[in-house]
Every structure is written in structure tokens, then in C-alpha cells.
Amino acid sequence: MNPEELKFTPTHEWVHVNEADGGWVATVGLTQHAVAALTDLVFLELPKVGQQVQAAKPMGVVESIKAVSDIYSPVDGEVVEVNQAVVDQLNLLSQDPYGEGWLVKIKLSENKLPDGLLDYEGYQKQCAAESY
């Protein structure tokens, strides 16, 4: 996926929306910036299929050598698919964060994205402002 076409949360998740069966399905992942900042990844915990998630609320957890960090949902909806491959092979996150390293797919409660998501340029500015 081309990151310039994605939307981003201030907490370093990316989201891409497709139409499916008359509804919107969001694919969600962690940004390359976040993965690089987390460094040595050890464990990943993702929500289960069928679980309801809320925008800006924790939906998963990632552990690096030093830190356990919450992963936030960018949208309201129901988890319809989980990328088990990335749970089993964490290197997918660093190798291809916008492709094979996606985390979950979420069917949106309403066919719209919440306010407050950043475009690529806005996200790049935020990353530059953070002194990782």
C-alpha cells in the first residue's frame, strides 16, 4: 500500500478503507515510524475476530525489549479479520508495515471515518516534531 494514500492516527496507526458488501472495511496497521521507534519487537497481541473496537481506544498491545505499548483503533466497528501471520512473524512488521505487516480489518459501524485522522503530510509533520 502506498503510505501517501493512507490516513493516520496521532498514535501511529495507519488506516485504509475499502468498500465491501455495501459497507466500509478498514485495514489497519502500525506505521513504519512506530515500528522503527519500538525497535526490538518481542510479542504482539491483537483483538479477536468479532470483537467490537472503538476509535482512539486500545485494541491491542505490542511489546519491544523495553516497552509494552497499546495499539489504538482508528475507527469504530467490528474486527472481521486478524493477520495471524504477523503475530507469528513479527519481522513482517518491520519488513512491510504497509503491506504484509497489516494487523486487522475492521468493518466500520458507519460508512465514514472519524474526525481527527491525519493525512500523510500531517503525519510526517507530527513525526518530525517527535524526537524519537
Partner: protein, 287 residues
């Protein structure tokens, strides 16, 4: 200079200690930077967020101790003759978004505090040693058994700097169960012995750094000597706390100020105590 709230708590049980630290983290934007130092009411084993509950059975010496799961990561710690700290920073602090720098700063504070006692503590930086481990003095059994092939052992997916270096450092094995048997860059060591380790929990509004300073050898984890054993003298804990707090404040550019627990933090900790930390589902969430 902004204030660093310092809470010196009496010994509490493990569930309360974790509940209160999580409450401090949740309220970081309101409370501001806070450093809490405490002991434990009874010898207690704390598990890192992602550790398997069942792996505690591989550490025989601590089997009679109660167990609690931390919100932070890392390996298991036997809290007995040790000092625990919980440092909470809101996102606005310049180190809150730099977890490795924060880890190093607090450990440097401890090294500096110990230097005043003529203790040659140092921070582990050697890349090879950082990725290694020790089994403690008894060569003991703190590494969990490997899971059967059908069930990947936690840690097998470990992606480390060693990959970049082309090193085979045994990462196909799960890391040792006990924190003090692990070696990570930034750990505080005296000679070959790790005497302090830390781990963090990050949420969007702040960061909690948990750390443990080994004061003496515990009969429930006898493989790990503490400062008193390594120095062959008693440790004045109050003075260690005082020196450590001063150094942490200097490194974080904050002014340490003695504080009382906020009623909002206590109330939230009570909720977390009931719904989470005294709840077996949380403690055994990963079996």
C-alpha cells in the same frame, strides 16, 4: 523547573502496587511527572505483561509466593529484598516519547547515586552481552522449557538487533523467565551481576517505567545476589532512595517534591484492584 512528585509508600500487596501504578499512568496528564518508590508487603512474584503464568512453575524457589501480573513488559521479578520504583511521565515530557533514552536516564541516575557509595555499578552497553543471559549463580532453572513444535514458544518470534549483526545468540530459545537472568542494553550491573532492570508501559497520554533494584539476596530467588551481598555490607535504603530521587530529578530536569497520593488516583486504583489485579483472569491471561 517543573516538579517531580515523589511518593514514598509503605509496603503494600502486589495487586495494590500494580493497580496504583496503573492509576498513576492513566492520570499522568493531570498529575504530572511522578516517581513512586515502594517495597512489597510479602515476597511476591510479578510477571511481565506477556509472560506465561505456567512458566512460574519453572522457578521452584518462588513457588510459595503470591503472583501478580504487571502492566509493564519484561521478565518476572521476585520482590523481596528489593526496592521498586514507578516513574510516570505525561506525553509532554521530552523523554516520554523516547523509551530507550528514559530507560537509560533512570539507570544512569542509579549508577550516579551508587557512585557516591564507591560502588562500581555500570550500565551494560556491550551489544553481545546485552542480548545474552545468565542463569544466576546456581546455573539454575529460571529459563522456561521450550514449547512443543506445534505451539511456538513465546519469544521465538523475537526480532532483535542480533539479526542485523548476523549473530546467533540463542534467540530461538525463549528468554530466561526471570528478569535478573536476562541481559539487555541499559541494565545496571555490578561486575557480572545485574542489580537493576526496568520495563515500560506506554499509552497515548503517558509512560510508566517500572524498575527493580536488588538490595539483597532473597531466599525465594537465591540465584541473584543483591547490593548488600556484592558489597558485603548493609544497605541504608533511606539514603539510597534519597540519592536516587535527587539524581532522577537532575537527569529529568525536574525538581523532586514530596507528595501525597491524590484521592483520584486512590479511587481509580481501587477500581483496578477489583476489576483487574485481584482478578484471576488478568493474572492468568496468558497461561
Amino acid at each position: 523547573m517543573d516538579i517531580l512528585r515523589v511518593l514514598l509508600d509503605p509496603p503494600y500487596g502486589g495487586a495494590w502496587n500494580m493497580a496504583f501504578d496503573e492509576a498513576l499512568l492513566e492520570h499522568a496528564p493531570l498529575s504530572g511527572p511522578t516517581l513512586r518508590l515502594y517495597r512489597w508487603a510479602m515476597p511476591t512474584l510479578s510477571l511481565g505483561y506477556f509472560q506465561r503464568y505456567e512458566d512460574r512453575h519453572h522457578h521452584q524457589a518462588s513457588l510459595s509466593c503470591p503472583v501478580v501480573r504487571r502492566p509493564s513488559g519484561g521478565g518476572a521479578i521476585l520482590h523481596d529484598r528489593e526496592l521498586t520504583y514507578a516513574l510516570v511521565l505525561p506525553t509532554e515530557h521530552h523523554l516520554a516519547s523516547r523509551p530507550v533514552a528514559l530507560y537509560s536516564a533512570v539507570h544512569q541516575a542509579l549508577v550516579s547515586a551508587l557512585k557516591a557509595w564507591n560502588v562500581s555499578a555500570e550500565i551494560l552497553w556491550n551489544e553481545t552481552l546485552c542480548q545474552g543471559s545468565t542463569q544466576g549463580e546456581d546455573g539454575g532453572s529460571s529459563r522456561p522449557a521450550r514449547a512443543p513444535p506445534s505451539q511456538p514458544a513465546r519469544g521465538e518470534a523475537h526480532l532483535s538487533n542480533a539479526d542485523n549483526l548476523g549473530l546467533d545468540l540463542g534467540r530461538s530459545l525463549p528468554p530466561p523467565f526471570m528478569c535478573f537472568a536476562r541481559r539487555s542494553c541499559g541494565d545496571v550491573v555490578v561486575g557480572p551481576h545485574k542489580i537493576a532492570g526496568s520495563a515500560q508501559k506506554r499509552i497515548k497520554t503517558g509512560i510508566l517505567q517500572h524498575g527493580s533494584i536488588l538490595l539483597g539476596r532473597s531466599p525465594f530467588a537465591p540465584e541473584f545476589p543483591g547490593l548488600a551481598d556484592l558489597l558485603s555490607r548493609c544497605i541504608q535504603v533511606e539514603r539510597l532512595i534519597s540519592d536516587f530521587v535527587e539524581e532522577v530529578g537532575a537527569l529529568l530536569r525536574l525538581r523532586p517534591t514530596s507528595a501525597e497520593a491524590r484521592s483520584a488516583d486512590i479511587a481509580r486504583a481501587q477500581e483496578l484492584l477489583t476489576t483487574k489485579y485481584r482478578n484471576g483472569q488478568w493474572t492468568m491471561k496468558i497461561r
